[in-house]
């Protein structure tokens, strides 16, 4: 019916035109007439309106910022801990914009707990000085342990509960654009117990104190440290060029038993070589942790350096190897697939060793693999890595950068961050 009406209407126009010569102007006018007879409000679709409002109302930002500083904290539990969630209170810009405060409590699907609080003054004295106060309590029910030394067998996997509490304070200076220097001090209470995973034997039932020092008695530590960082990466969130060299030296003083004091040196050297407008990046890392004790003292097994997992030897299980010292070598070739995704091929090598004299390239465990890196604003928001080794393969789905620089200060000495 409507079509018929339009036809009659058009014929009426035609009859009007027959009396005069048609012009291009008249032709356009008639098209406009037709359009004018069918005008309707030009509105965006409901879906577009919702997306627009989502952004304009800043729902994502409000969710991230929380309600009066309260928000959900998701993830960031130790590998193997399961999915973690909990409340977080976060405020930045306090005290004339100088202070950031954060406190959170999380529980994971495997029953792990983590409580943290953090007070930061990241930019004092015109950006030359920074201060950080950090406290945490962690209760991880089933951390993996395979024994101490490079020749442990994966079939001997056991587990243990780690419970620790720490408070650390850090003061640092930034005398130059790329350089940070500082020192820290803190106190650490530790406790280990029976592992909760029924699939595995609990560590104290498998390993003696001679193999796993500290498995029978735990202690507390005063710990002090110094650190230096030279960081000239082009973008620390997603580096494609430059280097990041970190050195930390820490003194762990057994404050309770007097038999587990030790010293620890962490060196983490990262180099990024970007080519072809940084669409192809060779990312290299050499990392070592060396420890030292006085005669007749030991390092508790739960504070020993570990190797294996999503961030170092990716073809091996998490915490697969542990001993008094460790070294890791990583090489990655990364290439841009599209602006939000990078591909990567990687090779990892590393080992643990009982004495510093074994710091060499012999007897390295190796793994090879490939992965995908999902980026937003140049930062890795998620990654999938598949690593292959003599012990099979591991698939990692993580929400961090593989070479993430850990927190400065003495808390880095904790085995699982």
């Amino acid at each position: 019916m409507f079509f018929l009406k339009r036809l009659v209407w058009s014929l009426a126009f035609l009859s009007g035109l027959s009396a005069q010569e048609m012009t291009r102007t008249a032709e356009i006018e008639k098209e406009r007439d037709l359009k004018a007879a069918n005008l309707k409000p030009d509105e965006v679709s409901p879906l577009e309106r919702k997306l627009r409002d989502f952004k304009d109302q800043k729902y994502a930002e409000k969710f991230a910022a929380g309600y009066h500083g309260f928000r959900a904290k998701i993830g960031n539990m130790v590998t193997g801990g399961g999915f973690a969630i909990g409340p977080e209170y976060y405020r930045e810009g306090l005290v004339d914009g100088k202070l950031t405060f954060r406190a959170s409590a999380q529980i994971s699907t495997r029953g792990y707990h983590k409580i943290e609080t953090d007070v930061r003054l990241p930019s004092l004295a015109g950006g030359k000085l920074f201060v950080d106060l950090f406290g945490s309590h962690r209760n991880y029910g089933s951390l993996q342990y395979y024994g101490t030394g490079p020749n442990t067998r994966k079939e001997f996997r056991a587990d243990y509960r780690l419970e620790d509490t720490s408070f650390d304070g850090l003061v640092g200076v930034q005398p130059m654009k790329y350089l940070k220097l500082g020192g820290s001090t803190g106190y650490l209470w530790t406790n280990v117990g029976h592992g909760t995973d029924s699939r595995f034997a609990s560590a104290e039932t498998v390993f003696s104190p001679a193999v796993a020092p500290g498995i029978d008695r735990q202690t507390n530590y005063w710990r002090n440290g110094v650190f230096a960082q030279l960081d000239y990466r082009d973008d620390p969130k997603g580096p494609k060029q430059g280097g990041n060299y970190v050195m930390q030296y820490s003194w762990f003083h057994d404050d309770k038993l007097g038999i587990y004091s030790f010293r620890r040196l962490d060196i983490d050297l990262q180099q990024y070589i970007g080519i072809l407008n940084r669409t192809r990046v060779f990312a290299l890392r050499a990392k070592t942790t060396l420890t030292d004790t006085d005669r007749n003292e030991e390092i508790p097994f739960y504070l020993q350096p570990v190797v294996g997992g999503s961030d170092d030897l990716r073809g091996f299980r998490p915490f697969r190897f542990s001993d008094r010292n460790s070294m890791i070598l990583n090489a990655e070739y990364r290439w841009e697939v599209f602006s939000g995704l990078d591909g990567t091929l990687f090779a990892d090598a590393g080992k643990v060793f009982p004495r510093r004299g074994f710091l060499n390239f012999r007897d390295l465990e190796t793994s090879l693999g490939f992965g995908l890196r999902f980026n937003a604003r140049n930062a890795t928001v998620a990654r999938i890595d598949v690593g292959f080794s003599r012990e099979g393969f591991q698939v990692w789905f993580k929400f961090n950068d593989v070479f993430l620089t850990r927190r400065f200060g003495t808390s880095v000495g904790q085995p699982v961050y």
Binding site: R6, E21, R24, L39, P41, K55, N277, R278, W335
Partner: protein, 527 residues
């Protein structure tokens, strides 16, 4: 659409008639009054995803005859109106006109304070809206601390180019001022990252200005963009038409002035050329309110990414299935062309170059159907306008940017010149590069633009004339008529121009004799 087709059929005075008495139209007929149109706002996420993955107007058919550009007259030229005005190529602008752009010399008045009436504190580079003592409203935008002069220069320079190319653009000025030039207006509010608003204080203004670089003379440098004329009603899309505008009758993806815009954006590296960076306003001329279409926001051009130097991937889509699969499965061993670009270190320029630039490969950040629909005749239309800028004119317009680093400015000029030449060489080769057809002394004459720009003219041109039956839209060859002289054969004659060296490229020129005058009224190009 069915109704429209039927209607067009019905109103045609004689089926098949090619030219109407008033062809070719230079201007669109006077527009209808649009009344009050709905002001709308797009979602940039939706725009991205709908253009990347969804339906986005009518694309060129995969087979069969292509859809030729519309909103053009019978000579293939866009008609002047709310989208486009014939400027530099058609009516040569002086250096002074080119550097003035759309402006009428109305920078913010320095007679009094500038009253801040709105504040944008988010992002790396902040901005203000100010009202000067003459009650004019300006959007004031700054450079990032890392790249002084970069975004402000790009914004002003590119606005001049787009103006000379025929588009409506804002009137941008580079201004220098001290903090005491600003005064805070009443009731100005500031939104934090979560959108929570509070009143702006003088301390806020001071904090915002701390994020802005100072010149050596201790002044703030900014772009002051005069609010465009008319009432804003939101951006136009690059496809479809406004359903509430009776004058908007040609799908945007088929407009020559939008298809050809692709080439201009490639030249100026305007990869941020998306719908939300355009704006429609209702302006009233001769008592008739009508829609005018503006291009806005040129801070991300000429190597600038507004807040940082432009990405080296500028000129490539964020995502494409084909290239992503290629990159993924070749392990990145076949890098895209833009990965080989070298960018000299000029902080005031950002990342701009010409050696790797290829206008055939250049694309904006995500697909734009009007750009994708462009045909060789659209490209020629754009290329001839790009080529119309002489080296001297480019240098003069770049001067608008007021760069303190002359080497950087020279590099920008070199890039614009060489990118221009690439555009000319490529698109003058895809159709016969002849234009400005006219009848002089009884002969058909034209300009060979390739020859004019020393890009190797076409020399072996053959002309063959036909009688043209306008009502039947049919040609009948005139034996032996192979010179440029226009034969005296009826009201319409047509000249077919061809070249043995470019066998697929032809031009048919239609000439009408009427009322004692002989003029060119139509052009057909093939390729």
């Amino acid at each position: 659409m069915r109704r429209l087709a039927l209607f067009l059929l019905l109103v045609s005075p004689v089926p098949g008639q090619r030219f109407l008495p008033d062809d070719p139209l230079e201007r669109e007929p006077p527009p209808r009054s649009v009344g009050a149109l709905l002001a709308r706002k797009f979602s940039d996420y939706y725009d991205l995803f709908s253009n990347q993955f969804g339906e986005r107007g009518k694309e060129q058919p995969k087979s069969g005859p292509p859809i030729r550009a519309q909103a053009v007259n019978t000579l293939g030229e866009p008609m002047e109106g709310g989208w486009y005005q014939k400027r530099h190529y058609y009516n040569r602008m002086s250096i002074d006109e080119l550097t003035r752009g759309p402006g009428h010399r109305t920078p913010p008045s320095t007679d009094g304070k500038w009253t801040v009436v709105a504040v944008k504190a988010e992002g790396v580079t902040p901005g203000f809206t100010v009202v000067d003592s003459a009650k004019r409203r300006y959007f004031v935008k700054f450079d990032p601390m890392s790249n002084p002069e970069m975004a402000t220069a790009a914004d002003s320079i590119t606005a001049r180019f787009f103006y000379a190319l025929g588009y409506y653009v804002p009137d941008n000025y580079i201004v220098f001022f001290q903090a005491d030039r600003l005064q805070l207006g009443d009731g100005v509010q500031l939104a934090d990252a979560t959108g929570k608003k509070r009143s702006v204080t003088a301390e806020d203004l001071a904090l915002i200005l701390k994020k802005v670089p100072l010149t050596k003379g201790g002044l703030y440098r900014a772009t002051a963009s005069l609010a465009v004329e008319g009432k804003p009603i939101g951006p136009p899309r690059y496809f479809g038409t406004r359903t509430d505008d009776p004058n908007d009758i040609v799908p945007h993806e088929h407009r020559r002035d939008l298809r050809g815009l692709d080439i201009f954006c490639a030249w100026l590296d305007h990869d941020d050329s998306r719908a939300i960076n355009n704006l429609d306003t209702i302006v009233t001329l001769d008592g008739v309110p009508r829609v005018r279409h503006y291009l806005l926001d040129f801070g991300s051009t000429l190597g600038s990414g507004t807040e940082v130097p432009n990405s080296p991937r500028s000129g490539a889509y964020y995502f494409s299935w084909k290239n992503s699969a290629k990159q993924l499965f070749t392990l990145g061993l076949l890098p895209p062309y833009w990965a080989f670009a070298h960018f000299p270190d000029y902080p005031a320029i950002g990342r701009f170059e010409w050696k790797v630039f290829d206008p055939e490969k250049w694309v904006p950040e995500y697909p734009n159907v009007a750009f994708l629909n462009r045909l060789p005749d659209d490209e020629f239309w754009a290329a001839k306008q790009v080529m119309a800028f002489t080296d001297e004119e480019i240098r003069a317009i770049v001067g608008v940017g007021q760069y303190t680093d002359q080497k950087g400015a020279d590099w920008l000029i070199e890039c614009l010149r060489e990118r221009r030449n690439k555009i000319g060489r490529i698109y003058f080769a895809k159709v016969l590069p002849f234009d400005r057809f006219r009848v002089q002394g009884g002969s058909l004459v034209w300009d060979d633009l390739a020859k004019e720009h020393a890009m190797g003219g076409v020399t072996d041109i053959k002309v063959s004339w036909s009688r043209f039956d306008n009502k039947a839209n049919a040609k009948t060859p005139i034996p032996g008529s192979t010179t440029a002289t226009v034969p005296e054969e009826g009201e319409y004659v047509a000249a077919d121009l061809s070249s043995a060296s470019r066998p697929k490229q032809t031009i048919t020129v239609y000439v009408r004799r009427k009322g004692g005058s002989t003029r060119v009224v139509g052009l057909d190009r093939t390729w």
